[in-house]
Amino acid sequence: MSSPDVPTRAPARYGPYIISGILLAIAVVVPLFVPAYSVDEPRLGGMPFFYWYQMSWIPVTACLVGISYWLVSKEDRRRRESARGMTTAEGEP
C-alpha cells in the first residue's frame, strides 16, 4: 500500500452488532419456515392464514431492520467520533 491505513472507526463494542445480527437472522429465517404457516385456518377477514401471516411479516421485518439500524448507527457514530478524536489529537502540530 502506498498510503498508510488510517482507521475510519475505533474498535467495536460487540453488543449492538450481536443483537442486530440476531434480529436480522430472525427476519430471514422465520418467514422462510414454510411448515409453520402452510395452513388455511384460521382465516382473517376471509384471508387464509398462509396469506395474511406472510403479509403481516412485512411490517415486522421493517421494525426489526429499523431497530437494527438504530442500534448499529448509534454504535457506528461512537466509533467514528472516537477515531476522529484520536487522529485530530495526534495530528495537531
Binding site: 488510517v6 475510519t8 402452510s38 398462509f50 406472510q54 411479516w57 412485512i58 421493517a62 431492520v65 439500524y69
Partner: protein, 564 residues
C-alpha cells in the same frame, strides 16, 4: 406464445378512448420530466460529463429520493404484471413467493450494501465489477462479473417492454394482422425513453420514479379496498381461487395450481424466495441505485422503509385471485389466453375508464423507470469493465460518460429488437436464466466485502461451475404441456427428489468449488492479485476523504499489469 396457438382473428379489441388519452397525457408529462431532470441538482462547473454525474446522479440522492428510486427500480412493471399473472394461472408457489422474497431481502441488504457503498465511495467504484477488480486484481474475474451483469440485465429490460405491451394490448392498440402498427406505440415510447436517458442519465428515472410510485400506490390502494367490497369480501375471492387452482388440468392430470403449498412444495417455495433475495442486489441496476446514494447509512435507512413496497406487491398479487373470482378474460391479439393481461384487464373491466387509465399509465411508466436504470447500469459495466479495463485503460471521465451514453442506447435498442423480433417466451426464458446467472456473481462480490480468503481464480472457477450447472439444469426443465425446454426454474437436487430453485443449487456448487480451489491454489502458492482496498475503507462514511482523490490507483489500469 408458441406458433401452435390458433389465431382466431377475434383478437382485435375496441380502443378505449378515455383510458388511452389519460395514458398518453401522463406519458407526455413524464417524458417532459425526464428531460427537465438534466438540470436537477446539476453541478454547473462539470455538467454531466462523468459517470459519477451521468451514471450515478452525482452520488447525492438522499433517503427520500432513494426510496422512490429503488422502489421504482426493484418493483418493476413486469413484476406488477407477472406476479398477479402467476397467481391467476398457477397460484402460490410461482406467485406468492414474491412476498417472502421481498421480506428476507431487506435484512440481507442491510448487512451487505453499506459496506459496498463505503468501499465504492472511497475508491470511486461505479459498478460491482469495479469493486471486484479493485479487490482481486483479476481481469478474468472482473470481466466475468461484468459480462454476467450485462447479459442478465438485457432480458430484464426486454421484459419491461413486455409489461408496456400488455398495457397497450388491453387499451386496444394493435391488431392481429398489422404487426408494425402493433409495435409502433412501443417503439415511440422507447425512443423517447432512450432520448431522455441519454441527456439526463440517472436523474431522469429518479425524478420519474416519484410520479410513477405515487400513481401505483393510488391504483393499488383503491383496487384493494374497492374490489373485495364489490365482490363480497376476500373470503369469496379466496374460495373461487381455491376451486380454480384445485381443478385438475386434463393435459397434465394434475391440479392447475397450488392454493396453499403442501409438504412437497416447501423447499421450492423457500428456496425461490431466498435465492431471488440473494440475487436481486447482485443485479447491476440495484447496485447503481445503492451507489447513487449520498451517505453510508442511506441504504440502511431505506432497508427499513422499502418494505412498504412489498406490502403493496402482496396485495397486488392477491388481485390475481380477485381476477379469478371476477372471471377476467385475458385474451391476447391472436385469440390465445395470455395471463400477463390479467391485471390490466381487471382494471379496465371494473373501474371507470379514467381511473383505469391512471392504473394502466402507472404500469406503463413503471416499466420506463427500471428500463432506464437497467440500461444505465449495463452501460456503466460496459464502459468501466470492458471499454476501460480491456481497451482504453487511460480513458478520461469525459470519455467514459460519452461511451456510456452511447452504450445505453445500444442496450435499449437491443432489448427492443429482442421483444419485437423474437417470441415473448424467449425474453421470459432468458430472464429466468439471468436470475440463475446473476446469483453466481454473489461469492466474488459479497465474500470480497468481508474477506480475501477466496483465491481470485478459485472464484472464477466457482462462477463457471455455477453458470454451467444452472444453465444445463434450467434447459432440462421441460414444460409438461408444450414440451418446450426452459419450462421453469425448479428442479430436483441431483441425486435426490427434493425440488428446489435451480439458482440455489448452482450457488452451492459455486461456493464449494470456490472453497476447494482456494485451498488447492493456496497450497500451490499461486499468486494473489493486487488488492487496493484496505480494511478501513469498508467502514468509511461520506465524511471520510475519497482515496481516489488522493491517488489514482487501479491495478488493472497499470502498464504491465497482470493480464489474467
Amino acid at each position: 406464445m408458441i406458433g401452435a396457438s390458433v389465431p382466431l382473428a377475434v383478437g382485435d379489441r375496441p380502443i378505449n378512448g378515455v383510458a388511452l388519452t389519460i395514458v398518453i397525457i401522463l406519458f407526455v408529462v413524464v417524458a417532459a420530466l425526464g428531460f427537465v431532470a438534466a438540470r436537477w441538482r446539476r453541478e454547473e462547473a462539470t455538467g454531466l460529463h462523468s459517470l459519477d454525474e451521468w451514471g450515478l446522479g452525482g452520488r447525492g440522492f438522499g433517503t427520500w429520493v432513494t426510496w422512490f428510486l429503488l422502489g421504482g427500480d426493484l418493483y418493476t412493471a413486469y413484476t406488477f404484471v407477472a406476479v398477479p399473472a402467476a397467481m391467476w394461472a398457477t397460484g402460490a408457489v410461482s406467485g406468492f413467493f414474491a412476498v417472502p422474497y421481498t421480506i428476507v431481502l431487506y435484512p440481507i441488504v442491510f448487512l451487505l450494501m453499506s459496506r459496498l457503498w463505503s468501499v465504492s465511495h472511497r475508491h470511486g467504484f461505479v459498478t460491482p465489477a469495479d469493486f471486484v477488480g479493485g479487490r482481486y486484481g483479476s481481469k478474468a474475474l472482473t470481466v466475468a462479473v461484468a459480462v454476467t451483469g450485462i447479459v442478465a440485465t438485457m432480458p430484464y429490460i426486454a421484459l419491461q417492454l413486455v409489461g408496456i405491451k400488455a398495457v397497450l394490448t388491453v387499451l386496444g392498440l394493435g391488431s392481429a394482422e398489422n404487426v408494425l402498427l402493433t409495435d409502433l406505440p412501443l417503439i415511440i415510447a422507447f425512443v423517447v425513453l432512450a432520448a431522455y436517458t441519454y441527456t439526463s442519465g440517472l436523474r431522469a428515472p429518479a425524478l420519474i420514479a416519484v410520479v410513477k410510485d405515487l400513481l401505483i400506490y393510488l391504483a393499488v390502494i383503491v383496487a384493494v379496498i374497492y374490489l373485495p367490497i364489490k365482490f363480497g369480501g376476500w373470503g369469496t375471492i379466496f374460495d373461487a381461487a381455491e376451486a380454480k387452482l384445485g381443478a385438475v388440468n386434463p393435459a397434465t392430470g394434475k391440479p392447475a395450481g397450488v392454493f396453499i403449498p403442501g409438504a412437497g412444495s416447501y423447499s421450492a417455495y423457500w428456496t425461490l424466495a431466498l435465492g431471488s433475495a440473494l440475487a436481486l442486489f447482485m443485479y447491476p441496476h440495484s447496485i447503481t441505485g445503492v451507489l447513487a446514494t449520498k451517505s453510508r447509512n442511506t441504504i440502511r435507512k431505506n432497508a427499513a422503509v422499502l418494505p412498504l413496497y412489498s406490502l403493496m406487491l402482496g396485495f397486488l398479487a392477491l388481485l390475481g385471485y380477485a381476477a379469478i373470482y371476477a372471471g377476467t378474460k385475458p385474451i391476447d391479439l391472436n385469440g390465445a389466453v395470455n395471463p400477463q393481461l390479467v391485471v390490466p384487464q381487471l382494471f379496465l373491466d371494473h373501474f371507470p375508464d379514467w381511473f383505469a387509465g391512471i392504473a394502466l399509465a402507472a404500469i406503463a411508466i413503471g416499466a420506463l423507470v427500471p428500463a432506464a436504470i437497467m440500461s444505465i447500469a449495463a452501460a456503466n459495466l460496459f464502459t468501466r469493465n470492458i471499454y476501460r479495463d480491456l481497451i482504453r485503460p487511460d480513458a478520461k471521465p469525459r470519455q467514459e460518460a460519452k461511451v456510456s451514453k452511447i452504450a445505453s442506447l445500444v442496450v435499449k435498442f437491443g432489448a427492443l429488437i429482442f421483444v419485437i423480433a423474437m417470441d415473448q417466451s424467449a425474453a421470459i426464458n432468458m430472464q429466468l436464466l439471468g436470475g440463475i446467472w446473476i446469483l453466481q456473481t454473489f461469492p466474488a462480490i459479497v465474500a470480497g466485502l468481508y474477506t480475501r480468503w477466496f483465491h481470485r481464480w478459485a472464484l472464477f472457477g466457482g462462477w463457471a461451475a455455477g453458470i454451467i450447472y444452472g444453465t444445463v439444469a434450467a434447459y432440462n426443465v421441460v414444460n409438461p404441456v408444450t414440451k418446450a425446454n426452459f419450462g421453469g426454474s425448479i428442479a430436483a437436487i441431483p441425486g435426490t427428489d427434493l425440488q428446489v430453485y435451480i439458482a440455489v443449487v448452482a450457488f452451492a456448487i459455486n461456493l464449494i468449488v470456490a472453497a476447494v480451489l482456494s485451498l488447492a491454489f493456496r497450497a500451490m502458492k499461486l499468486p494473489d492479485g493486487k488488492d487496493i482496498t484496505r480494511s478501513s475503507d469498508y467502514g468509511a462514511d461520506e465524511d471520510d476523504p475519497k482515496v481516489a482523490e488522493i491517488q489514482r490507483e487501479y491495478p488493472l489500469g497499470e502498464p504491465g499489469a497482470p493480464a489474467f
